[in-house]
Amino acid sequence: MLGKRTLTGRIGFALAILLLVSFSLLPFAQILSTSLKHQYDWGNPSLIPQTINLDAYKELLGLTEAKKVEIPAAIQKILNNPKLPKDKKEAIAAKYTSNENLFPFGKYMLNSVIFSVGAATFSLIFSVMGAYSISRLRFKGQVVIQRSVLFVYMVGGVLLMVPLYQMAMNIGLASSLWGSAFCLFLIYIVQTLPVGMYMLGNYFRGIPFALEEAAMMDGCSRKEAIIKVVLPLSLPMLATVFIYCFIIGWNEYLFASVFLKQYPEFHTLPLALQELFVSKNAIWDRIMAASMLTLAPIVICFLFASRFMKGGKTDGGVKG
C-alpha cells in the first residue's frame, strides 16, 4: 500500500526504515561511543572515537590495580591523638584509606543477578501453578481471581511504596540489612508474578486438552500429566516468561532505592549507577561503560526471547 513498486516508493521506504532504525539505536550508539572515548573527545559529535579508550571497562571489571590513597596530614594528626578511642580511629582511617573512586561493579552485578534470577525463579514456579489452575481447571471464584490478577498487575509500584515500606517498618524488617533484602526479594516476586501468570495462562489455553487426557488415560495423575505433558510443551514460553521476569527485576529502581539505599553493599546495578551518577565521581566514560555492561545481559536475553515474542503473541500482556 506504500507503492513499493515504483523507484521513488522504494527509496522513500528505505529512508523511512533508516530513519526509524537510527532513532531507535542512536542512544545506544551514543552510550557505546562515549564509553570508548577519551575525555578530550567527548565534545566531538562524531560517534566514532578518535582513539579507542578501554580504561573505563578495565576499571569496572577490576582489571586495573586500585590506587593507594594517602591519608591527609591533618587527619593523620587526629589519628595520632592518644585520647581517641581505638574504634573511632579505625573508622576515620577506613574512611580515608578506602578508595572512593573505586566502583565495585562486579559486586553490584552479582547483587542484581541474585535478586532478579532468584525472584524470577520463584515467580515462574508460582505462575505455572496459578496459570494452570485458572486456565485449565474449573472452580467457583475462578473469574474473580483472574480479574484480580489483572488488576494487581496494573497497579504500579508507586502506589505501593508507602504502605509496603510502612508494613516492613511495622514488623521490623526495614531496619535490618537482611530484612530489607528479604522485603525487596518478595516485592520482585510480586511484581513479576501477575505478568507471568497472564502470559502462561494464555499459552496453556492453547495446548489441546486431549494431550493431557491421553496421558491421564495412560495412568498418569493430573499432576504427572502437567509435569510430563504440559510443561515440556510450554518450554519456550517458560523460558520467555523467566527472561521477562528477570528483565523486570534487573531494571527495577524504585523499590531498590526505598529499601536498600542505606545498605551500599547490597545495591543493585540501577541503584549503584544512579548513585555513581549523582556522586562527584561521575565521569562520562565510566558511566557509559557501566551502562553498556548493565545493558549487555538484557540484550543477550532479549535476542534469545525475541524469537518467541514476535507477531504480538504476548497479546497485550506485556508490562510497560
Binding site: I31, T34, F126, V149, F151, G156, V158, S291, G316, G320
Partner: protein, 287 residues
Amino acid sequence: MTPLERAEAKFGWKLVAPTILILGLLILYPLMYNVYLSFFDVQLNGYKTFVGLENYIKLLTNTDYYSAIGTTSLYLLGTVVGTTLLGLAMALLLKDPFKGRGLVNAAIMLPYVAPVISVVFGWQFLFDPISGVVNYLFVDVLGIWSERTNLIGNPDSALWVVVLFDIWKHAPIAYLLILSKLVSVSRDQYEAAAIDGYGPIGRFFHVTLPELYFVLATVVLLRLIWNLNRFEDVYLLAPNVQTLPIFTYYQAFTGVIDQGLAAATSVIQLAVLSVFIWFYIKKIMKW
C-alpha cells in the same frame, strides 16, 4: 457437584493458593493499608498519629499538587498521542515482509527491553549542553537556536524530553499490538475498496482505520494505565519534572518527609487508575 468436579476444584484452589496469598498480602492489603495511612501523620520510623482528613485538606490546598496534576496531564497527552501514532506508523511501514525485517524488528524492540537506568545516561549525554549532539545540531549545524541550552536542566523543556523518551521506549509495544491486528485484516477488503475507486489514502481511512479502531483504543488505554504510574523513566532522566509519582516519592522519602500526605496522594491516584483498569477489564479483556 460430582466428586470428580470437587477434586478438580480442590486441586485448582491448591495450585492458585500461593499466588492468592502473596498477591493478597503484598498488593491488596497494602492498597487498603494505604487508605488507612492517609488519615494519619506518618513518620518514616513507623510512628503514627491520627489526623483525620488533614492530609487531604493539605493536599488539596497545595498548589504544587495541582501543578503536578498539570504536568502529569501533559505527560499523558504527549506520550499517549506520540506512542500511538508512532506505533501505527511503524506497523504500517513494516507490515509487508521485506529483506532484513527480522533485524529491523530486533533494532526497534531494543529500546523497550533495555534497562531504563542505562539508556537514560545515553539520553542525558545527547542533550548535554556542552558535549551533546542535540545542541550541536540545533546550534552549530542548523542555527535554529542562538545558544546552547540545557534542555534537561529546565523543568519546562525537560518535560518534552521525557515525553520523547517515553515515546522512544514504548512505541515498540504499540507497534506489536497494532501489527498483530493489522496482519489479520484480509486482502479482500483492500481489493474491494480498490475496485470501489479508493486510492491508498482512501483505503487507509475506509478499511484500515475502522479495523484498527479497537486495538487503537486498547493501546491508548494501556498507555494511560502504565504512564499514570510511570516513575523510573521520568525520575532517572529528569528528576525536576514533577509528575504525580515523582511528587509522591519526594513527599514520602526526601526533604520534609510526610508519608501520610504521600499515602493520600496515592489513594486519589489509585481511584483514577481503578477507573481506567475497570474500563480495560470490562471493555477489552477477554479473560
